[in-house]
Subunit: 151 residues, 2 copies
């Protein structure tokens, strides 16, 4: 079962627009992006503007597909940080280049969502948008290893 | 661009084991599941046990593929809740049946992750696992519409 491939068709429900062509390692927090949603899905966004934060799931289409991803890495390639398992990091090189970020929703105009803090480059296909619901997503007492505080 | 299909192969990195065959609408919070990760990726989990919460991304393989998903729904099918856009809800019927849940990591034994609060049925293919990092994911001051408090 594991290791199997699921051959599927992902529907592109929106595209990220922010003019950013190269992925910076950090500093995404204040970047404002627009997500231009398929206009046939405009109604499906109704009520989303009542949430302050949304979860954006996207396909990192420009991350090269690697036959074998490394199992251990230094977070952000920084040698001063410990060597940890790939799944203990947010590195874009993963078995599946699926990105997931919780962002602040600044504005909704029809089929366009203006968001802050999305770490996706210009042209990234968005495959899902979900509301951020405290209790379900917003974990206040999360514990992390000490290297995270050095990021 | 939007509305296009991305034909891709998702790699199944793990399988959910919890004995749950039918999806309940609620009550997932206390359900304990095991994620059995591909044993070739065991090393990629190293260090994950230092996080109290992880984000699990999975493919809802048993959700029927609908050619047309409804754009507006009553959350959880409850008529006492307002009719809102699909993307303002966490309904499993979405253009792409991608699930994403933040869960508590109870234990890691080699390639097996024991987690609490995963809303996925037995056999669900897991496609990514990410650490939950406060500031990035854990939003403390999220605002939500009033219907969410009635769920």
């Amino acid at each position: 079962m594991t290791g199997e491939l699921l051959d599927i068709s992902l529907k592109v429900i929106g595209i990220v627009r922010n003019g950013i062509k190269q992925r910076p390692e950090s500093g995404w927090e204040k970047i404002v992006s627009e997500i231009v949603v398929d206009s046939r899905l405009t109604e499906a966004l109704d009520g989303l503007e009542e949430f302050s934060h949304i979860i954006v799931i996207y396909w990192m289409h420009r991350v090269p597909a690697l036959d074998k991803v490394p199992t251990k890495i230094h977070p952000r390639g920084r040698q001063d940080l410990p060597l940890v398992g790939l799944f203990a990091t947010r590195a874009p090189y993963r078995p599946n280049p699926v990105g997931e970020t919780t962002v602040r929703l600044l504005e909704r105009r029809d089929n366009i969502l203006k968001v802050e803090g999305l770490d996706a480059i210009d042209g990234t296909p968005v495959i899902d948008i979900k509301p951020c619901i405290p209790g379900l997503d917003a974990v206040t007492e999360a514990k992390v290893p000490s290297w995270v505080t050095k990021l």
